[in-house]
């Protein structure tokens, strides 16, 4: 780990101000992702701004919806009575991720901003465009099964590992932020993450130093909700593929550089297609890369089964 300086932000404004003024600064919340990466020197911030104690952990009603503070931990959100009652897909998604210990530390903001689990990203001896733009991508012809089938590029085939974000995208959540200049912004969470393109090191549309302050859920859509995740072991493993269904809304995880809103599938379902047909339509553009070919049938099957389950039909 490289030496770094540290401060505890007094409030959100002070946090973004410090971020704007200090070169190489990063926010740290639960630290469950950032610290691991710092130990491997995959991240080497010169300055850490600790936002974990900012009073932004409340989960409260906002109109007919729910506002989740960025510092609410994954465990708090998953266990919240309103979330469990009205947004069960979110609880299911969160508890399928990481482990109990990690979820107790991990925050809503940090979870959205966590970085890929691509094994080559973690091994600094291998070329990786995300770590070092222009270096090349070891995963492209590598032996990892955990690569993207949707929206990947020749520069990067990594997937976004968050489960929570997949449910939030299906729920049409919005993100609230504070920009470095102190302005509050609010935009659909679906627009937070980017596809890799030629710049896989740019993962979100946040301005450097922009702080996520909350996630806002609109009232839940009509219809059943369900999250399912396929993986090698029953816990503490990222998804080969996952799917969140909330009424007519569908999002996929483990298949792309961002939580993947399945708009094609949604349209097909709305037009009366069967779940299988809808998934087939969604995956029409999907491409296998090396070891990940199994993800195509897996995503199609898991997707269709989960849509049926959310509707109360036999999977």
């Amino acid at each position: 780990m490289k030496p770094f300086t540290y401060e505890r932000a007094a409030d959100a404004r002070a946090a973004v101000k410090a971020a704007a003024e200090t070169p190489g600064a990063r926010f740290i919340a639960g630290g469950t992702n950032l610290l691991d990466l710092m130990k491997l020197e995959i991240e080497a911030p010169q300055h850490l701004i600790d936002v974990s104690r900012l009073p932004m952990a409340a989960i409260e009603a906002e109109g007919e919806g729910l506002r989740i503070g960025a510092m609410a931990t994954n465990s708090q959100v998953a266990g919240h009575a309103e979330v469990r009652r009205r947004y069960p897909v979110l609880t299911q998604a969160i508890v399928s991720g990481a482990s109990g210990q990690l979820r107790n530390r991990a925050t809503t903001g940090g979870n959205l901003m966590q970085r890929t689990r691509c094994p080559y990203f973690y091994d600094a001896s291998k070329p990786c465009n995300k770590r070092e733009p222009g270096a090349g991508c070891a995963a492209l012809e590598g032996v990892s099964r955990e690569t993207a089938i949707l929206g990947a590029s020749h520069a990067c085939v990594a997937v976004h590992p968050s489960d929570m974000a997949v449910a939030l995208v299906a729920l049409d959540a919005e993100v609230e932020t504070l920009t470095p200049s102190g302005e509050a912004r609010r935009f659909p969470l679906m627009e937070l993450h980017r596809l890799p393109g030629e710049t896989p090191h740019l993962e979100t549309h946040l301005i450097p130093g922009e702080l996520i302050t909350a996630v806002v859920l609109p009232p839940p859509p009509e219809g059943g909700q369900r999250y399912r995740k396929a993986r090698d072991r029953a816990s503490y493993a990222t998804a080969h593929a996952s799917i969140a269904v909330a009424g007519g809304k569908v999002a996929l995880g483990g298949v792309a550089h961002k939580p993947w809103r399945a708009v094609t599938a949604e349209a097909a379902l709305a037009a009366g297609a069967s779940p299988d047909e809808a998934m087939t339509a969604e995956l029409a553009e999907a491409q296998a890369i090396g070891e990940n070919a199994f993800k195509l049938p897996l995503t199609a099957r898991l997707g269709a089964a989960t849509i049926r389950e959310a509707r109360g039909e036999t999977p």
């Binding site: 780990m1 689990r117 072991r233 049938p297 897996l298």
Partner: protein, 754 residues
């Protein structure tokens, strides 16, 4: 040398007067370990503040180091020294044995500019803090002339040769027997590289007292570590004191020392202060040994009623370019089933991968994954129950060498297991049982693992308080050695458990071979029993010969030891009182065990039967273990709790081998893909449902004076095959390429229209 018949007489372990033998006594160090207060080597407090060494691993798999730039690292805060092959102190060439009786040769670190595997330690940075050393280690700049690594096992398999000094074993004529068999099976299985993933990564602490090196390290076998370090340092063996008091798991991966020990000792000498060096979790994956991958071809030829006429298990495997290790996955098969025509053997190819070496149940753990699934497939072709097929092929004597079995209760394990598990509810046609979204299936497999006894010594002391101290250069790698030695001592001397102290893990203590090959408890425990018997004799003679003792003049052979009291009929006194008066300062005696000369006249194994219920999600190919039962016959059980833990731990590992564990090789870089415990998947609690291990009553009086056998590896033999067979029974898909992950299963599920 003695005969096994000498062991048949009564002794305190067999008499078990106070009932301590067999009791599920809690591990003495359990609370220490779970509260983090059992000091591992890295946590031992040295006499003065230590410096911290961090190793740098090679980032290529093969080639030469051509450029070394350590200037920036040397100038970094707190750095005390930076070594590469260019400036490390001279060490005797690898394998040097100056002392003819050394049990290990020199293991020089940073020996040359040659890189022989990815992750090989190529530099050391020592600093005043771990953080400074870690930061400076990243500043060591090495350039390589890298060659293209030769690591593709599948591609190189065709050129594999006989392991040195080995030949195939053929009995009868396999080819003819197989050709003439009414029912034939010929299938090939593959198993991947596995990493040990001990809770405690390898670590060492060393300091010098004058010309003596004091080292704490995490090691399964004390003597070879001590000897190897002395050879490496070029000093007398007695000038190395090597300790390993608490160990966070070994599994065979700590049967040898690594560069952490060599470098800690060298740096401590150079700096004149204690030095700690540890592997990080990531470094463990490449920097220490692994279980190598195998390809196993099984051929079974049987007549229509299921009697095997011909069987063959041929194993291909790999080891490091400079190594000699062979994963003997075919060996166990020589003893398991009867068949007149038999062919087994191994082929080995050398690769530029890190070192291959032993891992829990070496041989059996890999080999049962093929043969025990092949038996399942054969049973299906014959329309026979898999339990019955095994019973039909039960040999009356060892099928390869004709020796009688010392004990063989495999059939009883199979029958009792089947009954306890409810095996009769299994539907032989796969894919018939559903529970919600899960397809449910049952599978079973046999377990076998050799039993061994090695020479060992032990000393026993009694002090003025009547406290018994056991001293032995043995190790406790988390298996319960401390506790079972205390049980044996307490039972032998008739004192409460709380009145026994056990000191192990120190090269100054009477030598024992350590922990490995599931010989630990039998070997160390037998030496302890011998030493305990000698102490009884010394105490008895002391009492009967002491004019002030109420036992004076009695027959020493008639003395009873119980509850801290020594007595003959109605005359008695306390052990403490006797010692205080008649031998103030206490008594110390030694004892030793040696394998009896006629021990090899028996075929000696431990046995078991695994039964397993799994759920397969037909949509995703995910598998979850719902229930596992193992029934084992492994001699007398000294501690029901530690034995059960060993067996269930082995069973879970087997399930992991079937389902998740394996580290793919990236042939471009010669490196392994999984480099931490988020990527290399060992099972978690949620993966494993109910697990139960039942131990049958057994006493094996040919094994050792206590009639006990090993249990540490047996559970890992066969349990993976039981899982694989259950998967087939659940969904009708056979995957012969381990681990059986969803990607592999899915193709079969789709092909079956599921």
């Amino acid at each position: 040398m003695s005969s096994v018949n000498d062991w048949a007489g009564p002794n305190p372990v067999k008499d078990n007067r106070s009932g301590l033998i067999g009791k599920g006594v809690d591990r003495y160090e359990g609370p220490l370990k779970v509260t983090g207060t059992a000091p591992y080597a890295y946590e031992v407090q040295p006499p003065s503040p230590p410096a911290y060494g961090v190793m740098v691993g090679a980032t290529v798999a093969t080639g030469r180091i051509t450029g070394v730039d350590i200037a920036e690292a040397e100038a970094a805060p707190g750095v005390l020294l930076v070594w590469t092959h260019r400036n490390v102190p001279a060490q005797p060439a690898k394998g040097t044995r100056k002392h003819p009786r050394s049990t290990a040769g020199s293991k020089p670190a940073l020996e040359s500019d040659r890189v022989a595997y990815f992750g090989q330690p190529v530099a050391l940075v020592v600093a005043d803090t771990l953080e400074n050393a870690t930061a400076a280690a990243r500043l060591v700049r090495l350039t390589y002339d890298a060659a293209s690594p030769d690591v593709d096992f599948a591609a190189r398999k065709a050129g594999a040769g006989q392991p040195p000094g080995e030949e195939d074993v053929e009995i009868g004529n396999f080819g003819e027997g197989f050709a003439a068999s009414a029912v034939q099976l010929d299938e090939t299985w593959t198993t991947p590289i596995q990493n040990h993933c001990q809770m405690e990564p390898c670590a060492s602490l060393a300091w010098w007292e004058g010309d003596r090196c004091i080292a704490h390290t995490s090691i399964q076998m004390v003597k070879p570590a001590q000897h190897g370090l002395a050879e490496t340092l070029g000093i007398d063996r007695d000038d190395v004191r090597l300790m390993t008091r608490y160990i966070g798991g070994g599994f065979g991966g700590k049967g040898q020392t690594y560069d952490d020990l060599t470098l800690a000792a060298l740096a401590a000498r150079a700096l004149g202060r204690p030095v700690k060096v540890a592997f990080t979790r990531q470094q463990m994956m490449h920097g220490t040994i692994h279980r190598p991958a195998t390809v196993q071809r099984v051929r079974l030829g049987a007549d229509r009623d299921g009697r095997l006429n011909a069987f063959s298990l041929m194993t291909w495997t790999h080891c490091h370019r400079d190594g000699a290790f062979t994963e003997h996955a075919s060996n166990f098969a020589r003893t398991l089933y009867a068949a007149p025509n038999r062919l087994t053997g191994h082929r080995l190819v050398k690769l530029d991968l890190p070192g291959a070496g032993p891992m829990r149940a070496p041989g059996e753990a890999s080999g049962t994954l093929s043969l025990e699934c092949a038996m399942d497939e054969l049973a299906e072709r014959l329309g026979l129950d898999p339990v019955e097929l095994r019973i039909r092929n039960e040999p009356p004597v060892d099928p390869e060498n004709g020796r009688p079995f010392s004990q063989r209760q495999l059939v009883r394990c199979l029958k009792e297991g089947a009954q306890l598990f409810g095996w009769d509810r299994r539907l032989p046609t796969p894919g018939q049982v559903r529970d919600g979204r899960w397809l449910v299936g049952y599978g079973m497999a046999a377990a076998i693992r050799g039993n061994f006894l090695l020479p060992a010594k032990c000393s026993f002391s009694v002090d003025d308080d009547g406290v018994i101290t056991v001293r032995q250069g043995m190790t406790d790698i988390g298996t319960g050695t401390y506790t079972v030695l205390a049980q044996i001592a307490a039972e032998t001397l008739g004192v409460p458990l709380g009145q026994v102290r056990v000191e192990i893990g120190d090269s100054e203590l009477p030598p024992a071979p350590g922990s490995g090959g599931q010989f630990g408890a039998a070997t160390a425990g037998s030496a302890a029993l011998m030493a305990g018997m000698n102490l009884r004799k010394a105490i008895a003679e002391l009492a009967t010969g002491d004019a002030e003792s109420p036992l004076h003049g009695g027959d020493p052979a008639k003395i009873v030891f119980q509850d801290g009291v020594v007595g003959i009929e109605n005359r008695s006194e306390t052990l403490a009182g006797l010692i205080r008066r008649a031998a103030p300062g206490g008594l110390t005696v030694e004892g030793e065990i040696r394998p009896a000369s006629d021990m090899r006249e028996w075929s000696q194994q431990t046995y078991g039967a695994h039964f397993c219920e799994v759920g397969v999600d037909p949509v995703t190919g995910e598998v979850r273990v719902r229930r596992m039962l193992g029934v084992f016959a492994a001699g007398r059980i000294i501690n029901a709790k530690t034995a059960r833990s060993q067996l269930t731990g082995g069973m879970i590992w087997g399930a992991a081998s079937a389902l998740t564990e394996g580290n793919p090789v990236d042939p471009r870089y010669g490196s392994l893909l999984g480099q931490d415990l988020a990527q290399y998947l060992v099972p978690v609690q949620a993966d494993i449902g109910e697990v139960e291990a039942i131990m049958l009553d057994e006493v094996d009086d040919k094994a050792n004076p206590m009639g006990i056998k090993g249990v540490g590896e047996l559970g890992n033999s066969g349990s993976g095959a039981a899982v694989a067979n259950a998967i087939y029974n659940a969904c009708g898909v056979r995957v012969r390429e381990y681990p059986i992950t969803p990607d592999k299963l899915l193709a079969g599920l789709i092909a079956r229209g599921l």
